[in-house]
Subunit: 531 residues, 2 copies
């Protein structure tokens, strides 16, 4: 990705900085200039050396499996993929009007969204530092648009604060920050920071707190046009006569602290969710479909793996078509890259050693429920000026996420009416019939947006623990499980290597799936070329 | 914009809150639910009553003038617009390959950008709370996409700090905030906040500071995976073996304070620049063109106004075609809405009273220079993972703004290589020949992005003080000038009323132009219908 002329001038610059300013400056120069990189991704993989027709059987046509297929085939391997579903992508999935699916227990849902509207039941956003996903999007022609994580005008809601009335994120954010700044400015002026901050720095600190915290000349955060420039106005500036702005009254720090709405603020600051995030134009499955344009011809769909065997010469995988489960098929290859989720793999007969088996058994899968709701009109934009982004609540629905596309359009819209991730509510919603999940999402959502009652049309609810192809949302590693089992999970066991988000330090993210596949096939290739 | 069923349930809710919780809760409920609104815009204007063929001459086909024309014609007026340029939009303007223009002094520039690439020399972003602009975009079919103001991975650069090496915004932002939180947590634990914060609140404050400031269990902000989750990693989490993340070393608070890079942080918090901002897909002039699709047939282009007269019966405006300045033309109407910038209007013979004349003369126009640069490839994305947003520097160029469209695409890209606004550098750049401005932008920009040297292709530089149709970027009101003159500027003087961003409390923004036009024609209409 680094062009040569630029790289050379950067190295010169860095070495100069190292000599002149020492290693700390050098480090910050490196991180700033991008060498100490944002991603484990090193650019397109290079698998040098001739595999001489070696065959690889890949289990799963999600992003990990299709990445492996794409790159191994390019390197000269003979590849085949077995996929449980009748479509590519796995959790990379988008639901549109006309789609339908059946969950464990037999409930079948049909999506009734208007044409052009969709929901992404699985991954729905791509951080800018997920360089592998972005590079495959570039190489495969997937067009991206911004995903809005922080919308200052969206809502923070606690049933136990502000009489249950939702607050604007901008108010909580500005008022918290402003009053933090005021408190620190006060103790700075009172000489209480004298041990911690030098005299010269204290003066700059006061300036910084004033600038960043919207403090007035007395270092106070209060109702005036300075704070209004951050939190918004009671009466916004206008045009012509009677156009002067009027500030609003900040929310007191004690009220913010007690409300605990501050705990949502980190959702906008975490590296994972920092600007600029992306989503594919038209739905997340544009990525899966783009991969399938490349490797679709080696995918055998509707192939439910029932057994994985290996010996010194190769791998034999038994599978059946769910429509004809009594007729087993076999696929053979020299090697196997298995991306089947551990939740399912742990239940299959599998010829691997005790350590890998223990690792496979050690990772529970997270519960997650997503509910898409269609409304007659985009009332969140029209009535409330909420364009994209996410509102947070302590209600069981946890989040309401507004569409990051089709802004300002007339007509219908679909929003994510609930995103439950782990916790008791996720299990509770999973246990409900789909229609009840949708009804609950409407009932709870109407507490934040009363317009729900008049505008709701239809919905669809995905409970990941009931999805037959994953039995859960993603691998839920604890630190202890990782210490005990992660390396065993990732080793090549005979002729089998695992890949997928579960075999990464970026669980539940597509980047983890792709990077784990690239790492797995790199090591597999080294063995093949060496032998 | 408010649908009736929703409005009713909101009012019920609000009145209930007022009764149960008192007026403070009521206020926060109102602001949260959107009644105490984000904009002076009240929805589509209603001009009831028959103007009986009254004629209005509008001077200027910028957004103010075209808004006035659109709405007055709809209300039954006979309207005509005189426009200096040969295109609609005024400062609502986009430059693409093939466009050319001549500035004062005679320098002519031709834009050589590749097809599909552009720069917006005037307005380039639309806040979500600029409800009038957004509503006209909706009514006129202008498609919007997000404008990224804050890109955490863009750069902050001071020539006098960090050996001149640019820093990532995310590092400065996280490390400043984290160490502010640490300082405040320390004094809280030392009992130094006991006067200011109650005991119960102190405990919650500590939790909040830890959550928001990425502090560890000892309330320290330091190199660990907690701070790395906010600021990013030295080695990012990856997939497969050797994938564990490694945190980087935070930048010390003293270094951040001395660098003064903290002063840029408010650019991401100010209400004006809060998410979600927008830009029209394809260029800002999509708005001007959309208005012109409606009112283009009443615009007389290439009409340079030279005199504005009025008497008790109407208004007479003298104008000439710049191609034939010796042949004056006259246009007459019952009323005049004049949107000519004050920088130009103050130099014209104009029949208005002394108070309005004094107001017109009281507003200097801000200097501003924007420079668009085309590069062979989007190196800021490919090499540095900077997708959209803005880098800030204390170099004369002030800002480098990356395109908020075409993300992740291969091929050429155009960025905003300089945005000088007021200050000595803006005047200095204005005084340079265009080619020198471009050369300087490349020279300075290469300090942040060494790739400039290899990748630069061509550029174009707009110095607003040299643009014949505005002689400056926007009206630069002081508080004192506003107190003395603003109301006089906005009054109807006989049969003339002024409109434009200069007649608003949102100077330099399109919302100010539109809101001022709506206010002016509302008052004009009241007079017409009354007489």
């Amino acid at each position: 990705m680094q062009s040569e002329p630029a790289a050379v001038s950067r190295r010169d610059l860095l070495s100069l900085i190292g000599v002149v300013c020492g290693s700390a400056a050098m480090y910050h120069a490196m991180t700033s200039l991008g060498f100490a990189s944002d991603s484990g991704y090193k650019g397109p993989i290079k698998l040098d050396g001739d595999p001489k027709g070696t065959s690889v059987l890949i289990l799963g046509a999600g992003l990990a499996g299709m990445t492996a297929a794409l790159e191994l085939r390019k390197a000269g391997y003979s590849v085949q993929i077995l996929e449980f579903n009748s479509r590519p992508g796995g959790r990379n999935w988008t639901l549109r009007g006309g789609d339908s699916f059946t969950e464990l227990g037999g409930a079948r849902q049909s999506c009734e969204f208007e044409q052009g509207l969709y929901i992404n039941p699985g991954p729905w956003r791509i951080p800018y530092h997920h360089r592998a996903v972005l590079d495959y999007c570039k190489r495969l022609g997937v067009t991206l648009e911004p995903f809005i994580q922080l919308n200052h005008n969206a809502l923070l809601h606690s049933t136990m604060a502000f009489a249950g009335v939702p607050q604007r994120i901008r108010d909580i954010k500005s008022d918290f920050q402003g009053q933090i700044a005021e408190l620190l400015a006060k103790v700075t002026q009172q000489g209480k920071l004298d041990e911690a901050v030098s005299k010269q720095d204290r003066e700059i600190l006061l300036q910084a707190l004033r600038s960043w915290g919207a403090l007035d000349h007395d270092y106070a955060y209060k109702a005036n046009l300075i704070s209004a420039d951050f939190r918004g106005y009671a009466k916004a500036p206008g045009g012509g006569l009677d156009a002067a702005p009027v500030p609003g009254e900040p929310i007191g720090l004690a009220d913010i602290l007690k409300s605990r709405l501050w705990r949502y603020l980190q959702n906008f600051a975490l590296h994972t969710f920092q600007t600029t995030m992306f989503q594919p134009v038209g739905g997340m499955d544009m990525i899966g479909k783009a991969f399938a344009r490349e490797v679709g011809n080696v995918i055998r769909y509707n192939a439910k793996v029932t057994r994985i065997q290996q010996d010194d010469h190769g791998v034999t995988v038994t599978y059946a078509d769910p429509g004809d489960p009594a007729t087993p098929h076999e696929a053979k290859a020299d090697w196997c890259v298995c991306t089947i989720p551990l939740s399912i793999l742990s239940q299959l007969p599998l010829d691997v050693g005790a350590r890998m088996k223990a690792a496979i058994d050690a990772v529970p899968y997270a519960a997650s429920v997503k509910i898409g709701l269609q409304f007659r009109r985009r009332f969140w934009e029209e009535d409330e000026a909420i364009y994209g982004g996410i509102s947070y609540t302590d209600l069981p629905i946890r989040q309401i996420a507004y569409p990051n596309t089709g802004y300002n359009a007339s007509g219908r819209g679909v929003l994510l009416g609930a995103y439950l991730f782990e916790g008791a509510n996720a299990y509770e919603f999973t246990s409900m019939p789909p229609a009840e999940r949708v009804a609950k999402a409407v009932e709870f959502g109407a507490i934040l947006h009363p317009q729900y009652r008049a505008e709701f049309e239809n919905g669809i609810a995905i409970a990941w623990h009931r999805m037959p192809f994953t039995l859960g949302c993603a691998g839920s590693w604890t630190d202890a499980a990782r210490a005990d089992h992660y390396n065993d999970l990732c080793q090549i066991d005979g002729r089998i290597v695992l890949a997928g988000e579960h075999a990464s330090y970026i669980p539940a993210w597509q980047e983890g799936a792709i990077l784990s596949a690239l790492d797995a096939i790199t090591r597999l290739h080294q063995r093949v070329v060496k032998t």
